[in-house]
């Protein structure tokens, strides 16, 4: 450590700033590479890699398209950092600090996932949205969307308990008039009081139960 009282990389002793200047063509090449990678990543996104490997996975819901896209993005980011931002020629510490910040962001994501992803792994009652034995949906959650179970204007049959539209009009024309009627109906369906509602819940929540079990 001796002798590094200033950790500047002294390029010369005159105290003035000296840098290596790249050619314009160099920057154009980097840009060309970035454009190529952009086109390439858009092209691969039309490819249903998830579906090919594990048939039935909705396009984009698996992990492989995601990994490929992230790998390409990381390449592009590396191009920008190294050459456009001159990290290659810059002081080492700057690169270290910047990369360090990305690592900390990674720690942030990894540790948080370590919680949210594994919540119900040890105990099936822990952290689930649907009670695995009764099928009851956890109160205080999505079921209460909007507070008063407001029916979206274009929904024909709204399930208040699930906070979800059971039957949906994609191109509706002025369904506001129905709102009052639908509302009452849905409410009556959703809240027949205590045990009744619970007994009914498993059927309505079957899909969710399955979804929860999958995790």
């Amino acid at each position: 450590m001796s002798g590094d009282s200033h950790d500047h990389d002294h390029h010369s002793n005159d105290g003035a700033v000296h840098v290596h200047v790249h050619d314009v063509s160099f920057y154009l090449k980097v840009f060309g590479g970035l454009i190529f990678l952009t086109v390439f990543t858009v092209a691969t996104s039309y490819l249903d890699i998830d579906g090919l490997v594990r048939p039935g996975t909705p396009h984009g819901a698996g992990g492989l398209n995601f990994l490929l896209a992230m790998a390409i993005a990381t390449c592009k980011a590396a191009f920008v950092c190294t050459w456009f931002m001159h990290l290659k020629d810059d002081a080492r510490f700057n690169a270290l600090f910047f990369v360090g910040s990305v690592l900390f962001a990674g720690v942030f994501l990894a540790y948080t996932l370590n919680d949210t992803y594994y919540r119900q792994h040890e105990d099936r009652y822990q952290g689930v949205h649907v009670d695995p034995s009764t099928g009851e949906r956890a109160p205080g959650g999505l079921a209460d969307i909007g507070g008063s179970c407001e029916v979206p204007a274009n929904c024909v049959s709204y399930n208040c308990e699930a906070g979800r539209c059971a039957e949906f009009v994609v191109h509706h024309e002025g369904g506001e008039g129905h709102e009052g009627g639908e509302h009452g109906e849905a409410a009556a369906e959703g809240h027949e009081g205590g045990e009744g509602a619970e007994a009914e819940a498993p059927a309505a929540e079957g899909e969710h139960g399955a979804e929860a079990a999958e995790h």
């Binding site: 950790d7 360090g100 910040s101 540790y111 370590n114 919680d115 999505l142």
Partner: protein, 551 residues
């Protein structure tokens, strides 16, 4: 040194170099900014302390004592939020760091003086918002703003979180500034192994400020948007995850604990070295333990959430890493004790605070072991045990460290001595009052008294009463201290450049320092704790009677 200073007696100090209000408002002088920070944080310390007293008085007797439950919730929230965001976090870096970091580096100023000024005004803006929010219904969420309570309450959550969001940028900019300063503005001869430990501590703090604070900014921004636009990220009613908020919050707020404590430790290094006339034992270990704490501090936030419904895997990792924090903390304490060994120890008030720090921080640290241990934490979590633990670290640690620094550097900052006897009376009151208040709370917590309770069951009454009396003693101690300092400003004896006989670099300049700190560029030829290399004139500048005795 005395002669050198005399030769330049014609040069005005930083307080007199320029005059007029404008010279303060637009100043880019790190020392003046330090003073402005000091005045602000002391004001907020007083306000935060006022709310603390309200809380303790309410809890003095069971049932309603002086206020309603809603008022009480607002009082403890404001106490926490003001103390954390407006006092502790900016206290040492903003006030003492700004003032002394460049001087200790032999620099004329911080790397970005205008950014420093901007950072101060961002702080002021955030502070004004926070205070204004008290007028518009205040806030009753606790300083942690946990969702979904913070998305449901009708208090001014948006205002207060916006204020904390803004304050965060002040903290970030200070951190950026200090990092660049420490790297690039060190005087010739001041290599990393000679860096004063205060600078090491501030450096580690700055790294956390830069890397952790933006996360609280984005967290609170999402929270504000959750309130204003509704997003469904934290709000469970919209499919969000309230526990996710806790991860976000503690990703900042745990490292923030080190933003608070590291500067306190940093000051204790300086004070212990000066008053035992000895270089800190294991200098490099102490310096590295600061950096180590800063980095490990990022990996343990989940220990605030052991009962929050986290996955078992996450609890495992977080608990294991939490114990690692004990290592660098222990290294510091052991090295401090070893520093006293074969020293020449005197007991002026800064040293009393530093020694009290040693004792109180040890209690704070050791009780942390209980809380890091999973099964024991289940019982102690969210009880008064936690309250006592973090007050031992934050008050017994940071505030005592801050007070040590304030007493230590007061003559340098203002060029005036204070009444040492009065300072010791204040110290005694603060030390006794603090322990009465908070040691009691360890007992309350282990018996199962939960936090943030307006009322309590009858069998907790004696301990709560005792704790409240302690808080009054603590408050009285601070009043005596305030009186002592104000009197020093008004009529204190003129301070010599080096009243404590320290070998630290900052004592080589005049008291108060001249506008550009030193005459020309200083060159460091010895470390800041090399008492055996320092000349007698340097060291006994402030103790003429001792110098005479030696002759």
């Amino acid at each position: 040194m005395a002669t050198a200073t005399a030769a330049h007696a014609h040069e005005p100090d930083y307080l007199n170099a320029k005059t007029g209000i404008g010279s303060w408002i637009y100043t880019v002088d790190h020392k003046r900014l330090g003073i402005m920070y000091l005045a602000s944080i002391l004001m907020f310390f007083a306000i935060g302390g006022f709310f603390a007293l309200l809380v303790r008085i309410e809890l003095m007797t069971p049932g309603e004592t002086i206020m309603s439950p809603t008022m009480y919730n607002k009082a403890f929230t404001l106490h926490g939020a003001i103390m954390v965001f407006l006092f502790i976090i900016p206290s040492i870096p903003g006030a003492l760091g700004n003032f002394f970091l460049p001087i200790m580096l032999g620099a004329k100023d911080v790397a970005f003086p205008r950014l420093n000024l901007l950072s101060f005004y961002i702080y002021v803006l955030g502070a004004i918002l926070a205070v204004a929010s008290i007028a518009i219904n205040a806030v009753d969420t606790g300083w942690t703003f946990y969702t979904p309570y913070s998305t449901r309450t009708d208090t001014a959550v948006v205002w207060v979180t916006l204020s904390v969001f803004i304050l965060g940028f002040s903290s970030i900019l200070t951190g950026v500034n200090f990092i660049a300063t420490v790297h690039k503005l060190r005087a010739p001869g001041l290599h990393w192994k000679r860096l004063p430990l205060f600078v090491w501590g501030m450096y580690a703090t700055s790294v956390i400020q830069v890397l952790a604070t933006p996360v609280i900014a984005i967290t609170l921004f999402i929270l504000i948007m959750e309130n204003v636009l509704t997003l469904g990220i934290f709000n469970p009613q919209l499919g969000g995850d309230p526990v996710l908020f806790q991860h976000f919050f503690w990703f900042y707020s745990h490292p923030a604990v080190y933003i608070m404590i590291l500067p306190g430790m940093a000051i204790v290094n300086e004070v212990l070295a000066t008053f035992s006339r000895r270089k800190i034992f294991g200098y490099m270990f102490v310096a590295m333990s600061s950096v180590g704490l800063a980095l490990v501090g990022f990996l343990v936030w989940g220990h605030h959430m052991f009962v929050a419904g986290m996955s078992e895997y996450a609890t495992l990792v977080f608990s294991a890493l939490t114990f690692l924090v004990a290592i660098p903390s222990g290294v510091k304490v052991f090295n401090w004790i070893a520093t006293l060994y074969k020293g020449s120890i005197s007991f002026e008030s800064p040293m009393l605070y530093a020694l009290a720090f040693l004792v109180l921080f040890s209690i704070g640290g050791l009780t942390g072991l209980f809380l890091g241990t999973l099964s024991v934490d289940i019982h102690l979590h969210d009880t008064y045990f936690v309250v006592a633990h973090f007050h031992y670290v934050m008050v017994g640690g940071t505030v005592f460290g801050f007070l040590a620094g304030l007493h230590y550097w007061w003559p340098k900052m203002f060029g005036r001595m204070y009444d040492e006897n009065l300072a010791r009376v204040a110290f005694a009151l603060v030390f006794i009052g603090f322990n009465m208040t908070f040691f009691t709370q360890f007992v309350l917590g282990s018996q199962g008294m939960p936090r943030r309770y307006y009322d309590y069951l009858p069998h907790f009454a004696p301990l709560h009463g005792f704790s409240s009396v302690g808080a009054l003693v603590l408050g009285a101690g601070f009043l005596v201290m305030a009186f002592m300092f104000i009197r020093s400003l008004a009529s204190g004896a003129k301070a010599p450049p080096n009243p404590w006989g320290s070998a630290g670099y900052e004592w080589a300049t005049a008291s108060p320092p001249i506008e550009h700190n030193f005459h020309g560029q200083p060159v460091m030829t010895r470390g800041p704790y090399d008492y055996h290399l320092a000349t007698d004139e340097e060291l006994f500048d402030g103790f003429p009677e001792e110098a005479a005795a030696k002759e």
